[in-house]
Assembly symmetry: C2
Homo-oligomer: 335 residues x 2
């Protein structure tokens, strides 16, 4: 990405092993993230040329210190690299590892190859070479599924709970899937797009609320005896969506917020009197990856349906435009 | 309180039973809360004449529907009345009960008598008439102890945890006591007052940090391998104290914030990337009261030491001034 709106596919040098803990991966599939649209739209600076942080592929080379993956393994990795051994990682916050680095900054994955630092603590090998139809789902695990799953866990979705999901993008839809898998009793998807509503229902949404802002909040309260949802997943990152999440949650309830905050200022007093639990941030996808890979391998979940447009990587610019214009929920790029 | 700084002790009509669920209590002791200083200082409006929301005393009259307490019982109650039966109460958030009312607004307790709504769901009777030396501790349970305890629970203080406490007022000190009781391994009190440091140590603080703001944060990091505390109790309610709490907490750590927010705006992006858990608000004291009363009754904790000035209620104005000028941590008023 050269500037907002200007995405070009170019020849660049192949990544090399730099640290002995690195791996170089031949990417099989990658995708465009909602967060890639922030620079695309000029909302945040275009601070790196090589885009992309979601990936699945085959290990092509490894550094001398890599032990957990080997050349030829098919792997999925988180969008943040982590050593998976530090105290923060062991507590389950690999995205905040003391050696954390964003893949997008280190080595964009919308490419033929990518260098992944701390390969042992970042990558998870699949049980074997996956069937082609599993690739989209495994790719989803790299970020949107892991992020939606984290949001649902942070929101304490589970049996007996009513979960509301703010945001009907890929992460919100994955939040619906995760809430359903975690056993939530009722899942309210907030969406005004028929196609996304349909996918939300397929993933387990029991109710759809089309209203937004205070009207959306009123609707959630109406559906929950006036109390608000037990659990709210926030998957947008704007002032409006955060306030919608806070106001839709009952006192003592939990919000998992994973939409990257843009221009959000939370009013302290309202947050105080709301009595909610607030937890979020960049999802520690690595915490959930082994389980998610297994669920996909066993065909118990099908997160890959969230990709509604597939393009060869040469046509990446077209994919950005389709997502920007909301003609696609999420674009998969084949490499 | 007639206006900021103007506290007068006046004759007022005795409170009456209004609802059949009410009780009228003959107050034995009451006190001045840090939050009473906000209107005293003119930071928030003086919106009620009759001040006070902390109380212990003897039940003098009950409405026809009251079952759990009887005339003659010595009782402690929360500063928020609750039915203790609604869904929110049953989840442990009695301060957000669907019938919640602030005692301070309904009927100030810096008085000879107070009317307590929803007596059954608000009051807890002691096992018998308490010895005089237990009165301060039981009074503390009504708010500051219950609030500090909630903060420690919200911050998930417990075995193996390093807990930092922002704020050395009564609630902060009670947070130290609670963290110690909950089994925290290390408790860092942030205080620059020798007397409060001493009391913090008595209550279980293992370390004292005198620095504030970013310097205080740096000190906490220095004491925790650069990671930050697992648990942070915020007991002030200002922008500076909230940011200090957020920055002193490690990713994945927990903040219990109980200082009533004044002028706080939390930057969404910093909160997002901090990866902390944030939970707080008006403490559901009623959740903890039965256990706290028992701990006090069995003389296992001595929260009453937080009162370092005792005055007859006629001299209430003097008590406000002493707390305002930080000559006293907390003032007990005998009735």
């Amino acid at each position: 990405m050269h500037s907002p709106g200007d995405v070009q596919v170019e020849d660049r040098p192949d990544p090399e092993i730099i640290e002995p803990t690195d791996a170089v991966i031949k990417i099989s599939a990658t995708c465009i993230c909602g967060s890639d649209l922030w620079p695309f739209r000029g909302v945040e600076p275009v601070d790196h040329l090589a885009m992309g942080h979601e990936y699945v592929g085959v290990v092509e080379r490894i550094g001398d210190a890599v032990r957990n993956v080997k050349v030829g393994d098919f792997v999925v990795g988180s969008f943040v690299t982590s050593d998976n051994t530090c105290e923060i990682c062991r507590a389950g916050y690999q995205s905040q590892c003391v050696h954390a680095a964003f893949v997008s900054v280190e080595s964009g994955t919308q490419a033929e190859r990518a260098r992944i630092a701390n390969a042992d603590g970042t990558l998870v090998a699949t049980p074997g070479r996956p069937d082609a139809d599993l690739i989209p789902s495994l790719l989803a695990a790299s970020d949107v599924l892991g992020t939606g799953w984290f949001a649902a866990v942070a929101a304490e979705a589970g049996p007996g709970k009513t979960v509301a999901v703010v945001g009907d993008g890929a992460v919100g839809l994955m939040g619906v899937l995760a809430a359903e898998q975690l056993g939530a009793e009722r899942i309210i998807a907030m969406s005004r797009h028929a196609d996304r509503q349909a996918l939300a229902r397929e993933y387990g949404a029991t109710d759809i609320v089309e209203e937004r802002g205070d009207e959306g909040v009123a609707k959630i309260k109406e559906l929950t005896n006036g109390l608000g949802a037990h659990s709210v997943i926030e998957a947008v990152g704007t002032q409006e969506s955060m306030m919608q999440a806070i106001r839709a949650t009952r006192p003592g309830g939990h919000i998992g917020f994973v939409g990257v905050s843009h221009g959000v200022e939370l009013p302290g007093q309202e947050l105080f009197f709301s009595g909610v639990h607030l937890h979020g941030g960049p999802a520690p996808v690595r915490r959930f990856l082994p389980d998610l890979v297994q669920l996909i391998w066993d065909r118990k979940i099908d997160p890959g349906k969230v990709f509604d447009l597939t393009l060869p990587i040469e046509r990446a610019a077209e994919g950005y435009r389709a997502m920007d214009e909301r003609r696609a929920v999420k674009v998969l790029l084949t490499v």
